[in-house]
Amino acid sequence: MSFIRLEPRGQASKTMVYVTPLLAVALTLLSGFILFLALGFDPVKALHAFFIAPLTSVRGLGELVVKATPLVLCAVGLAIGFRANVWNIGAEGQLTLGAITGGGLALAFYGEGGWWLLPLMVIGGAVGGAVWAAVPAFLRLRFNASEILTSLMLNYVALLLLNYLVHGPYRDPDGFAFPESRLFEADAVLPILWSGTRVHLGALFALLAVAGGWLLIARTFIGFQIKVIGLTPAAAGYAGFDQKRIVWLALLLSGALAGIAGMGEVAGPIGQVTAGISPGYGYTAIIVAFLGRLHPVGILLAALLMALSFIGGEAAQIAMGLPKAITGVFQGMLLFFLLASDVLIRYRVRFGTRRAVA
């Protein structure tokens, strides 16, 4: 008989749904404090450099939005899948494909662009990402292959494909053999929304994705089906919901959104196709989706926090020589703490030995 017990709640706690993400953030900060201390840095100064200093300048706030943009786009799509038990962890690859197709269009029409080029690139990026996500969807439905493993394998394939392209067909003909494409022309670059920063039109796409994702989940029959399939697949079966259609929808939609995110990176802050277009946005988006409670608005907030961990990591590296890898440790820790504290949603922690149950 253990001293600490978990007692099931009659009903999931609505309060805890909102409390546990905050608890997870607090625990992460506390662990960060200890980690910095262990590494021999002044923890107060380090946490300040990491989480406060980047927010004190217009440029820093702009970068926050720039980094949150692909995270939101990827995470909104992933969350729809996760709700329906579709485990797409291939957002990184789908983002990469969006950069390849969207960026490829910019290069194909180099010197002959017009007002139509950017819309075409957005569509191209979405199609590229969706096609990449269609592979795991097809393999799961037709051959019963786990989409977790197939979508992940395709991440590596996509990165290698990008690497091949920037060393070969996409390489700048006047670029002294550097593995990068030409700089895009003005009509292939997303307009800046906030002067003095790098915030680009993609941020608007991200907001549209949040609104669209919310509408889909909360206000449509498909959203209802997604929720039922996720909570009780058997009930969805009895109700006659077409589960195949939901798998297709979840993967194609998340692929398209990730593809747009990738296109937004090459046509936004990067301005060309290079071998390193993402510091792992597609993976971090998984954390964003969970931290945001698979809810589009929550995702928006979670993405801003995760974006802060990216720029905070860079800022702290420059200001104090902190290792950049700390960003990854923070992100992983945050997800751990969140998953751990989520137990409080459905269970009460009881101390003492078991009472007689009436």
Partner: protein, 309 residues
């Protein structure tokens, strides 16, 4: 006959390339047999790789390095075990978290060790046998870890199918409610299985950083943890088949390196895709047989268990 002379080294390299996959897959196989799906193999391998490497550099002892790597793998796995077994967290999400955390943590630990070369383990040499043409080097010229990985295959098989403990572990994986009702400690058994999986993943990672490469680089496992997960499915949860699968993938990895040496002009990046595409292919081939998967997969795989509920 230059091409023919290549076969010996290719075979030898294939067994070496298969070794990290074999360690990790065998560990995960036992974990899954107990009914737990730990997707954090990649993260545990990386932590094992960096810890083993760092300790070997510091102490000069590869034995200590491998021991620490196994411990480090088990320690990372224990995070997963606590979360999924005692705090009832979703296994898929927690496994992903473990991988993301492992990638970050290993990069942090390893930043002072990037680019330092290590000697690797000594290779076996038996006069006569090792000098045999074609198979000599492959069979009698490997280092101890390669043999250990192969030796682990019958041991895991015997444990699972010929011991009482193995029977209990499989029972827990097939029906945790029944096993619990019979008085077996479901959570304790799963905890131990997850630790074993972590230790094996740690050894697999350490083999990469201390012996195969041998150096440390961020994210150096490059998906091998995920390939090991796919291997477990490919093996339909059988140790001997996992070994065959690991050799197959070792072969694909090595082939890809040698194709260019044979003068076939394919861009290296496209060749590097082969192991990943092969993984997708074998997954599809094995998974399409739904009945076979259902027959062999532990029935409680990935399901949460709460003794009080």
């Amino acid at each position: 006959m230059n091409d023919f002379a290549l076969i010996g080294p290719i075979l030898a390299a294939m067994f070496a390339a298969a070794t990290p996959l074999l360690f990790a897959a065998l560990g995960e196989l036992v974990v899954e047999k107990s009914g737990v799906l730990n997707l954090g193999v990649e993260g545990m391998m990386l932590v094992g790789a960096v810890c083993g490497f760092a300790v070997t550099i510091q102490t000069g002892s590869a034995v200590t390095g491998f021991l620490v790597a196994a411990l480090a793998g088990a320690a990372t796995a224990s995070l997963f075990a606590v979360l999924t077994l005692f705090l009832l967290a979703n296994q898929v999400a927690t496994g992903l978290a473990l991988t993301l955390f492992g990638v970050g943590l290993s990069a942090l630990i390893g930043q002072g060790f990037v680019g330092i070369p290590l000697e690797g383990l000594p290779k076996l040499y038996i006069p006569g046998l090792t000098d045999l043409p074609v198979v000599g080097q492959a069979l009698f010229g490997q280092d101890i870890m390669v043999y250990l990985a192969v030796a682990a295959v019958p041991l895991v098989h015997l444990f699972l199918y010929r011991t009482r403990a193995g029977l209990v572990l499989r029972a827990v994986g097939e029906n945790h409610t029944a096993a619990h009702a019979l008085g077996y400690k479901v959570l304790r058994i799963r905890f131990l299985a997850v630790l074993f999986g972590g230790a094996m993943a740690g050894l697999g990672g350490a083999f990469l950083s201390m012996d195969y490469t041998p150096m440390w680089a961020e994210n150096m496992t490059s998906g091998r943890g995920w390939i090991a997960l796919a291997l477990v499915v490919f093996a339909t949860w059988k140790p001997v088949r996992a070994m065959l699968g690991a050799w197959l993938f070792g072969g694909v990895t090595i082939l890809q390196l040698h194709v260019q040496g044979l003068g076939i002009d394919v861009p290296s990046q496209l060749l590097s895709m082969l192991p990943y595409l092969a993984t997708v292919l074998v997954l599809v081939l094995i998974s399409r047989d739904v009945a076979r998967i259902r027959l062999n997969a532990p029935a409680c795989l990935g399901k949460l268990f709460h003794p009080d509920a």
